[in-house]
């Protein structure tokens, strides 16, 4: 095994990718040379040096996906890497899928496990069917792989003294970036909470969510939500969105209130105990729960909150 190219629109991808390479090494595949590519916005060369990357190519953060992919295409032609690696994100996947189309190479997104590796084939696992199943796939090298963020953590870092910096070659494009608006964040870490109260479409207005916040604060927990609450209605910021493509949580207790139980949501909940409150007794949330309460949340929550207040 020779060269690996790590692409990253954000610093996290480098750490994830190096962690993945360690697992590859344990399976008997060694890497001689690592080439890095990242945006000039996120390039902290001091951190990247610690990861053992020999050459780092930078691109302007205002570049479009097709521009970056075509620039990567030039590098792939130059270095012929065996594996092109990144962590799975909307931007990383869009750019690398474009590259894979240019190269006619196989690409696997959101890889959570490396099962086997030979000199020309990797066997990998990824979650499919909205998290209800997993798929084992084999891929011939060279291939493009994006891995689930924070799944692979490097233990030992091989520091390099010299890192060669260069610019990624970019061509013109017919897409123009007009405006970038950062999303609102509260900085909550629902992924670390021991108790999470999840809210869904069963709530009729944003104001009514205060019931859930009161319950969460009485229990010493945090409030999370389903996709429509964050993405569609925007009642809560996206750092509270529980879903396979967003936050995954591992609390002791998850209380799902007014949540129908879409697999995309429930697959992101790994809780010891799951409680569901829903007025529809046929809601699929009940098949995912340990304790179910078939009731109108507007009637049940005030009673539950009162009882907890008295404790």
């Amino acid at each position: 095994m020779s060269t690996v190219l790590i692409f990253s629109n954000n610093p996290q991808s480098f750490t994830d990718a190096i962690g993945f390479l360690e697992v590859l090494k344990q399976k008997g595949l060694n890497v001689d040379k690592i080439i890095g590519v990242t945006s000039n916005n996120s390039a902290n060369t001091e951190d990247i040096k610690k990861l053992g990357i020999l050459e780092l190519y930078l691109y302007d953060s205002k570049s479009t996906d097709d521009q970056i992919a075509k620039g990567l295409f030039q590098l792939v032609k130059k270095f012929s890497p065996n594996i092109i690696l990144s962590s799975s994100s909307k931007t990383n996947n869009s750019i690398l899928a474009y590259l894979s189309g240019l190269l006619s190479l196989p690409m696997l997104t959101e890889i959570s496990d490396l099962l086997n590796a030979t000199s020309d084939t990797l066997t990998l696992s990824r979650s499919v069917l909205a998290g209800r199943a997993y798929s084992i796939e084999s891929v011939k090298l060279p291939a493009i792989i994006t891995i689930t963020p924070k799944k692979f953590t490097p233990s030992n870092l091989a520091a390099t003294n010299d890192i060669k910096l260069d610019n990624l070659p970019l061509q013109d494009t017919t897409v123009k970036i007009v405006e970038v608006t950062p999303k609102k964040r509260e900085g909550v870490k629902i992924e670390d909470a021991e108790i999470v109260v999840g809210v869904g479409r069963g709530f009729k207005s944003k104001e009514d969510l205060k019931l859930a916040f009161e319950l969460a604060s009485l229990l010493g927990g945090e409030v999370g939500c389903s996709r429509p609450i964050a993405a569609d209605l925007r009642w809560l910021p996206e750092d509270r969105w529980i879903g396979i493509s967003m936050k995954k949580i591992r609390p002791k207790l998850y209380i799902a209130i007014g949540i129908s139980g879409a697999p995309q949501h429930m697959s992101a909940v790994d809780a010891k105990i799951i409680v569901a409150v829903n007025k529809d007794k046929n809601a699929s949330i009940f098949s995912y729960s340990d304790y179910g309460i078939v009731a109108d949340l507007y009637q049940f929550l005030p009673i539950l909150i009162n009882k907890l207040k008295k404790k």
């Binding site: 479009t64 996906d65 097709d66 992919a69 994100s89 909307k90 869009s94 750019i95 899928a97 474009y98 590259l99 894979s100 189309g101 696997l108 959101e110 499919v128 069917l129 909205a130 998290g131 209800r132 199943a133 798929s135 084992i136 796939e137 084999s138 891929v139 291939a143 017919t174 897409v175 123009k176 007009v178 405006e179 970038v180 608006t181 950062p182 021991e194 009485l218 229990l219 996709r227 993405a231 569609d232 996206e238 002791k252 207790l253 995309q264 697959s267 105990i273 098949s287 729960s289 340990d290 304790y291 179910g292 309460i293 078939v294 009731a295 009637q299 049940f300 539950l304 907890l308 404790k311």
Partner: protein, 269 residues
């Protein structure tokens, strides 16, 4: 708007998990439906057609076999794609794409659109609900030599300048972009509320053409070394107690819940 190609996948439905034997997903018999976000993509295409004219041609690659069985099983869903407003539907069948590898699916989709005609806009959902690779839009774009705009949650067409203005919904930001046509886009589930076809639309769908495209039609060589193979597809079992707490009053149920949670050791208070 001129002509739009919509890539609409007929997916295994994750709400209808079915296994064969212990834990293997039964892809042969599991219920299928139109992939969730592809409904939004089709809806957006049809809305543009209603406003600016042109045609919406839908393409679906049949990625689960056996081909003959699935062609028959999905007839109603094929009609549904037309009832949702597509003018024509092309169903792509090939052994090469069975088991849903985005590498081959994108090559065949690109071949199919090239064969059918010139399009000004190519549209699909952000990911499919079965395999969820999120690759098709970018891959097809690069094969066709076009730029791509993924995760679009707002879309406008400017007929004067023949360009689109789109807002991408990314993890940390919204990004507004402008692009000349032709371009390939993928849309998020938030871009619109896909319509439920009326009885009239369903009836009309029966007079719209469904055409099958095979390997031969698309000049795909029969034998090819597979670079990407799906070895296995297994269900993740849900092991929950599934106890419904009942009582004479909500008051009683609340008490039961609190005592159960104490027994489980998950209450801090």
């Amino acid at each position: 708007m001129p002509n739009i190609a919509a890539f609409v996948k007929i997916s295994l439905d994750p709400n209808m998990i079915r296994t064969a034997g212990d834990d293997k997903i039964d892809t042969v018999n599991m219920q299928m439906s139109i992939s969730e976000y592809d409904k939004n993509a089709l809806e957006e295409a049809v809305k543009l057609k209603e406003k600016y004219g042109g045609k919406v041609i839908a393409f679906t690659a049949l990625t689960w076999g056996p081909i003959d069985k699935k062609l028959k099983d999905t007839e109603v869903i094929q009609r549904e794609i037309l009832a949702r407003g597509a003018d024509e539907l092309y169903v792509i069948t090939s052994n090469l794409i069975l088991n849903s590898s985005p590498l081959y699916t994108s090559i065949l989709l690109a071949q199919a659109v090239k064969k059918v005609g010139n399009f000004d806009l190519y549209i699909t959902g952000e990911s499919s609900m079965d395999i969820g690779s999120s690759q098709i839009s970018s891959r097809v774009a690069s094969i066709l030599g076009l730029p791509v705009i993924t995760y679009v949650r707002e879309l406008e067409y400017d007929p004067q300048n023949n360009l689109i203005r789109a807002t991408r919904d990314l993890e940390d930001s919204y990004v507004k972009v402008e692009a000349e046509l032709p371009v390939v886009i993928s849309v998020t589930g938030e871009i619109n509320q896909a319509r439920i076809p009326t009885l009239l639309q369903i009836r009309r769908a029966f007079s719209k053409p469904v055409k099958i495209l095979t390997d031969k039609d698309l000049n795909i060589p029969e034998q090819q070394l597979l670079l990407h193979k799906r070895e296995d597809l297994k269900v993740i079992k849900i092991n929950r107690k599934n106890i419904i707490l009942e009582g004479k009053s909500l008051d009683e149920i609340a008490d039961k819940l609190i005592s159960k949670l104490r027994e489980e050791g998950v209450l801090k208070v």
